[in-house]
Amino acid sequence: METADGPSLARGPRTRVPDVPPITSPIGDALDRAIINNLQGGFPVCEEPYREVAVQLGTTADELMRRLDALLASGTLSRFGPMYHAERLGGGLTLAAMQIPPDDFERVAAIVNAFPEVAHNYAREHALNMWFVLATETPERIGQVIAAIERDTGYMVHNMPKREEFFVGLRFEV
């Protein structure tokens, strides 16, 4: 509550209000956070790239590599390296959705996940409750994999390939 005297935090027992909303899982120290924020933006291609980044972050290449190992091991980072653009590699990529009855969901998830072409699979709250990304060596293979999933599970697959991608710039600041 705002008053003429300023925010209510000046009065009463609550003497401290955090500047930012609390993060559910706090991430490491200032250096870990700087590494996560900085390395989402790119990594140089040069002889000693870790040293180049370490200098910017005020640390050493050895410390940066050690921190990256730890962030990957803890799952804070899911990947570190080049991100390839599947279609430009000549492969196929699509998003697909299925409507699975709840009591058959685990069986179908196991069948779908067993396909090596399924890169990600998410359960979502909707009548269409299973959403997965298919990545294949060739564009033609997408249709074959979808047909195989329909055959093996007994459920219809809705294929939703992207028609256009719009530029995005989001980074997760920590």
């Binding site: 559910t24 996560i36 990947r79 890169a119 990600h120 699979n121």
Partner: protein, 174 residues
């Protein structure tokens, strides 16, 4: 010879430009970049080519968009972004590009795609992935998108992920 627009060159030649060595570099780095002082030299040694050659090819793949970027991918769940809403929108087809570019430019949107409808079950043709620390934050961001779309928003919903069933990323066979 009349120069073609860069976009046309990119669209038709990126795949053709990838040769065996490019593919070997992709296979060697798709699980990640080694944490050693000279990572590109390490890849070069593994493949039996010069380090300069590896770096030259990586730079070219960055330029042509075969590599989106080199960097870190945070696990947004671990970072406290627990609520991940796939917002989906039914907008007029003739305006999807104009509107997609506007929505993609928002800070809160990590992916924005035009995808096909599957009538009658699925009337939505524009997908925007919205991340927040909780559902209230996601809902607030979705309202911002709805305001931006105005009357072009003929219907929308948000699908929340409840579980990651599989997440392996893209894999190219060696």
């Amino acid at each position: 010879m009349t120069p073609r627009p860069a976009s046309a060159i990119r669209a038709c030649s990126a795949e053709a430009l990838l040769d065996t060595i490019d593919r070997q570099i992709i296979v060697a780095t798709q699980a990640g970049l080694p944490r050693v002082a000279r990572p590109y030299h390490a890849i070069a040694a593994q493949l039996g080519v010069a380090a300069e050659e590896v770096m030259r090819r990586l730079r070219r793949m960055l330029e042509t968009g075969v590599i989106r970027r080199i960097g870190a991918v945070p696990n947004h769940y671990v970072l406290g972004y627990q609520a991940n809403g796939m917002s989906v929108w039914d907008v007029p087809d003739e305006r999807v590009r104009e509107l997609g570019e506007k929505i993609g430019a928002l800070d809160s949107v990590s992916h924005c795609y035009h995808r096909p409808r599957h009538l009658p079950a699925w009337p939505y043709n524009l997908f925007a992935m919205v991340h927040g620390r909780d559902r209230d934050e996601v809902e607030a961001k979705v309202l911002t998108i709805a305001d931006l779309l105005g009357t072009a928003d003929r219907g929308h919903t948000v699908l929340y992920s409840t579980r990651i069933l599989k997440k392996t990323g893209l894999r190219l066979g060696g």
